[in-house]
Structure formats: C-alpha cells, structure tokens
C-alpha cells in the first residue's frame, strides 16, 4: 500500500507519519478502524481524537490559514487522507463538516460565514449535520417540502428531515428548504444554516440495522435562524446543495477504499488460516475480491492525479462510487462466508466485531450519497447523454 506522491510532499508526509506514530497510541490506538458516523460506545474517544488532530493542526490542511487551516494544497490534503487511512486511524467524528460543509462554505459562503463557522469546525467546537433528505424527498431531493419564511431579520423553518447522520450530536444543521412557497422542484430552494439548540428543533435518534444510533430524524417547527444564514443566493439552494454533493469526492474515496484493501487482506489471511485457499470456488472469489480493491485504488489515483494536475476528472470519477459500493458488499459477503458459523455470533448488546460491522454497514453504501439506481441514471444521462427519464 505505498504510493509515492513525489519529493515536494515527502517532508509533509514524514512529519505526519511521525506525528501519527507519537499520538495514535493508548486509547486512540485501541480505536483504530472504528468507523461509521456514530459508533456510540466510542463517541467520546473519537471526539477526543479529533481534538488531538486539531491540536496537531491536521484538520483543514488545505483550508486558508485565516480560518485556522494550514493553507497547503490539494496534494497535501490527499497525502493526509492517504497516510491517515494507512495508519488505520479512527473514522473522524467531524468528517461531515470537514468534507462537505467546510468546502461548501469556502466556495460559496460569505466572508462573515467563513469567519464565523470555519474556525470552530477545525477546533472541533461545533458539530454539524446535513439536513437534505426528508421522508418524501430521498432520491428525489428536489421534492423538498421543509418551508422557510422570512420574518423580519429571521427565517422561520418548519418541516421534517430524516437520515441525518451525526444528527444527535449536531450543534448546527445545514438544511435545504423551500423559501418560495409557490415554487416547484429545483426552483425556490434555499440552503440555510440552523442552530439546533432552540425550542423549534427536535432530534430523535434512529437505530440503523447494526443497532447503532447512526442517524436521526429532525423535526422543525417554527425553528429560527438569522437572515444572513443563507448560503449562496436565496432561491438558488439547489445549486448550493449540488455543489456540496459534488465536492472533492476523490479525496474521501481513496481513504475509504484503503480500508477496503485492508479488509481484503484480512480476508486472504482468514482464508489461509481456514485452509480455504485450496477450494477452487473460494479461491476464485478471493482473487476477484482482490482485483476489485486494486481496481478501486487505481481508479481513485487516476482521479487524484487529474485533480492535482488541475485537469477535470474523467468519467471514472463518477463511476467509482457505483463500482466500489457494489464490490465492497461482495467482499463483505465473502468475508462472512469464510468466517462460517462463528461469524454469525455477536457480542453482548448486539456487539459487532469489525468484520460484521463493516459487512452490515456496507449495505448503506449503495443507498446514501445517491443510490446505485440513481448513480446509473446519472451515468446514463450525464456521462453517456442518454435521454432523460420521463418526469412529471
């Protein structure tokens, strides 16, 4: 798992490696590989780990210094993610704000918004949730019904959001709202930043199929936020939301898939232990699993190379998600098969081991961030130029 990013970033990499070696110890080291947006039991440790990273100034490596970042480039950010994944450090609790909201604010936020929100994100002082989906607006995000109305210097927001990752911990939400009551679909939407600490916001955890409080439903009834909490233009929220979804996918996919590589290697070890390598059918599936993770790696490196060269990423940047999510599920099935009956036994309180957790959580990867079916529509229509589905 070695990729050489060139001499320019070698010092940076070495500094990071040393830092990780010194700090990813004790309790933090025990939580290596712990993942998922909310792993309840580990939450406090993970927050502490994020603060440790913050103190080391490793959060927001590519963000401007005036907002608390290091002011370095995309390449350093990639190297950071790569080394981070290589060290198998815990999944970051602040990933939502770091990967999605932060970059969106940097791109489309006002100067006041950047000054107000970016430093606390990097200091792990404020946690964020993304309130896009609603009970009636999942794949069809443009059918958002949560309404926001102006009342003097404030927006008054009512509606329901769902599947909000990190929702139960969020101090703030960024929500997609309909600000023009007569509008339909993509028009008349606005993206608002909304504090959760107020009477009009109720957040209830939803347990996922692995038994974790991974996400939440959010009820907004006359919740309030200040007029200047709109990101991008009022009425142009669709554009803002799409920009968020499109931000720097490449940098987050690579580390995730390094994790998959680690799983594939563990799987081969397990198969060797079990003497399963002599079974021709299993052997074939194991090699195919290895092929999948290796292809994911190359595909991501292609995208990253294009990004760092200042080129527009090719089609592979879009197809990567569908490929990776599908193949990761297959990897999980194979790992569970190799584990045999022992793999079916869980710990107290539905306590899952790493393999079980990764397998079960992989079921979400073909749903969130655009389901596989939606990905196929996007690939067909946007990359291949096929005619759109008939829509009302």
């Amino acid at each position: 798992m070695e990729v050489d990013f060139g001499p320019a970033v070698r010092d940076f990499r070495d500094e990071l490696r040393d830092w990780l070696a010194d700090h990813l110890v004790g309790e933090f080291a025990e939580h290596r590989g712990v993942g998922g947006p909310t792993d309840g039991a580990a939450w406090e440790v993970r927050l502490a780990w994020d603060r440790e990273l913050s103190a080391g100034r490793w959060l927001g490596v590519a963000w401007p210094e005036e907002y608390g970042g290091r002011g370095l480039g995309l390449l350093e950010e990639i190297v950071f993610e790569y080394e981070y994944a290589r060290a198998n450090a815990p999944y970051r609790a602040t990933v939502n704000a770091l990967d999605l909201l932060g970059p969106m604010l940097l791109k489309m936020g006002t100067e006041e918004q950047k000054k107000r929100f970016l430093p606390p994100i990097l200091a792990v002082e404020e946690l964020w949730g993304q309130g896009f989906s609603e009970p009636g607006a999942g794949s069809d995000l443009a059918s958002v019904r949560t309404r926001a109305e102006r009342d003097g210097e404030e927006w008054v927001v009512s509606g329901q959001k769902v599947w909000t990752s990190f929702g139960i911990h969020a101090d703030w939400l960024y929500v997609l709202t309909r600000t023009d009551p007569d509008s339909v679909r993509h028009k008349g939407l606005t993206l608002l930043l909304l504090p959760t600490d107020q009477p009009g916001v109720e957040i209830r955890p939803i347990r996922n199929l692995a038994g974790q409080d991974e996400f939440a439903e959010v009820f907004l009834s006359d919740a309030r936020t200040h007029a200047d909490m709109a990101v991008g233009e009022v009425g142009q929220g669709w554009r803002t939301a799409m920009a968020t979804l499109g931000i720097e996918r490449g940098t987050t996919l690579l580390p995730q898939q390094l994790g998959f590589e680690r799983e594939a290697e563990a799987l081969i070890d397990l198969a060797r232990e079990r003497g399963a390598l002599d079974d021709p059918m299993l052997r074939r599936r194991i090699v195919d699993a290895w092929i999948s993770v290796r292809i994911m790696r190359t595909t991501n490196l292609r995208t990253l190379a294009e990004l760092t060269a200042g080129r527009t990423p090719g089609a592979q940047a879009t197809t990567a998600k569908l490929y990776a999510s599908t193949r990761h599920q297959q990897l999980g099935h194979l790992a569970m098969e190799l584990a045999g009956p022992a793999g079916q036994i869980v710990g107290e309180d539905y306590g899952l081991d790493m393999r079980q957790r990764s397998f079960l959580l992989s079921l979400a990867e073909t749903i969130y961030g655009g389901s596989s079916e939606i990905q196929r529509n996007i690939i067909g229509e946007q990359l291949l130029g096929l005619p759109k589905e008939p829509r009302p």
């Binding site: 990729v3 050489d4 990013f5 060139g6 081969i268 198969a271 060797r272 390598l277 052997r283 074939r284 194991i286 090699v287 195919d288 290895w290 092929i291 290796r294 292809i295 190359t298 595909t299 490196l301 292609r302 990253l304 190379a305 294009e306 760092t308 060269a309 080129r311 090719g314 089609a315 592979q316 197809t319 990567a320 569908l322 490929y323 079916e373 990905q375 196929r376 529509n377 690939i379 067909g380 229509e381 990359l383 291949l384 130029g385 096929l386 005619p387 759109k388 589905e389 008939p390």
Partner: protein, 372 residues
Amino acid sequence: MDLTFSEEQDELRKVVRSFLAKYSDEAAVRRLAADPRGHDPVLWRRMAGELGLQGLAVPEEYGGSGFGYVDLGIVFEEAGRALLCGPYFATVALAAEALLRCDDERARRDLLPGIASGATVATLALTEDDGRWDAQGIGLTARERATGWQLTGTKTYVPDGHLADLLLVAARTPCGISLLAVGADAPGLDRTSLPTLDQTRKQARLEFTDTPARLVGTEGTAWPALERTLATASVLLAAEQAGGAAAALDAAVEYAKIRVQYGRPIGSFQGIKHKCADMLVDIESARSAAYAGLWALDAGDETETAIAAALAQTFCSETFTRVAGDNIQVHGGIGFTWEHPAHLYFKRAKSSEVLLGTPSHHRELLATRLGI
C-alpha cells in the same frame, strides 16, 4: 504522481484515432476480415511511415522512437476501438517485446530496426496443440547441429503466423526453454492459415522439419524473458480490450438514443440506460486495470507488472466480452445480423479472451503471484 495523461499523450490519442477512423473504418475491417491474409501492406506502411506506430516504444538505438508503454497503450486502446486488422499486435506486442527482453544485443540490433521501420512483420510462436501458455506447453524441439540450430515440431494458434517475415519460436533444447528466430523462407517450414471465429485477427499453424534457426539469447534461459514478454503483451492486449469495449458501448449508446419503442427512445428506459451505465462502470474499471499495468511497465517494476498484467487480462477479457454481448442485446434483432458490426466486436472479444490464456489461467497466475 503522473498517473494522468499529458497533453502530448492526449494529442497522440487524437492523431491515432483520426488516422484509424480513416484507414480502419468498418469497410476496411470487413474487407480485411474477408481476406485470408487479413493484412493491408499499404496501411502497414502508412502506420510506420506517417505515425511510426510499429517503433513507437522501441528504443531509439534500435531504430524506434523510444516512447513509453503508456504511449503504446494509447495506440493499442485506439487500435482496439477501431478493430484494427493486421499483424500489429503480433509484431509489436509479442515479437518486438520478446526481442527486447531476451538478453541478446546482436539480435536486437539485427532484428528490431526492421520491425520499427515497418519493413518486418513478426510474431511469437509459443502455443502448441494443447493451447497452453506455460513452459510445460512447449514441446517443439531445437537441436544444435554442425550447421547450426534446427527446429522440429509444431506450433499452432500463432497470431499472424501465416504472413510474418520473422518468427520467434519458443523451443525445448537440452538445457531448457530457448528462443529461436526463423525467417519466413526457411527450408522445412510449412505454414497453414487457420480459419478463425474472429476474422479480424488471423492465426496459423506452423510445422517445422529440421528448419534452420538462429538462437536468440542464451540457450535454456528463455522462459523468464518469455514470461515478461507475455506480461507486457497481456497489458497491451488489456488496453486493446478496453478500447474495443468502449467502441461497443459507443455503438450501444448511439442506438439507444435513436431507436424508438413504445413512443420513446429505448435509452430512456432504465432497463437499457442502466445496462449502458454498468457497461461504462466496467469500462472505466478496465481502463484502470490496463493503465495500472502500463504505469508499472514504465516504472520498470517487474513484480508489480506481473501482478498488474494478470489482473488486467482477467478483468479486461471478461469486461470486453460482457460489454460486446450487451451491445448486441441493446441492438435487438439487428445486432444479431452479419451486416451489423456488433458481432465483429463480440468475436474479437471472445478470441482476445483466450489469445494469451483464458481469464481462469490469468486468475491463477495472479493468485500465485500474490502468494494466495
């Protein structure tokens, strides 16, 4: 990280694509497919004279232009897209590579310039009746007589063996596997064309009876060099397969946009749209597989090349066949006709799948190389 194409490489792709669009269009492919020799010497000379394609990755000291494997891979991808007919793969991916890899400076100086200039059509004769791509499959023998080396035995499924001016033959000698060069006019050489399912790439059966040959490299040491040659050829073939698959997808998409059923273009139905999307996912993944091999080759990393090559052959073979089959499906009845080009791609895919060994063979190579 230079895992992206440079502007020069984009330009190379453009030039090769427009050249092949002109000289290897469907009419040319059909003409050469129907022609038992399947070779157009005028096109071959143009490829060498106008673009230097035969010598692109041959080092300058041997008359080539010394480009890298990523560049050569671009040419193969485009050749696959255009279903280029002729001995390009045999000459460049097999013969030239075998010469570059066996330790024989004199042979390289004698034989490579002809290949690079387009004067020599060459191939590698490795497989025999059992079609194996491993050392055990080599039974043809070479003996050293007073007058020099002589070959006796049979080679078959030799790509473009019916017309190659230069045959590089893998043979068994008392010391092990050796490589020998034979000229087309050598006495005791009998060549028969084999009618092929995929008419766009011809094969031949070669019989040698005390045929005089020239030893290339040191006696008994050819297998490691041949293995590396096969790895390189596997990567180049994978690039060709990725290109062929991309062309099949283009055809499917074009048709899906214009063919109307139930009052709307079939491409607006998810059954077809999603099939096309899956084809693209596979093709981009196949590109990654092939490019990883090309980068490993340019980096000169042999271990990595061996792994990437087996991976690429496994994945790109299966992808091309699947995508070419889906293209027929998208076309419906018309895709099943002789008149439509869809079957040309499908047959090229199916034959490429076994050209350097089946996907199962390469999976096993990969498993072995990974220590699984």
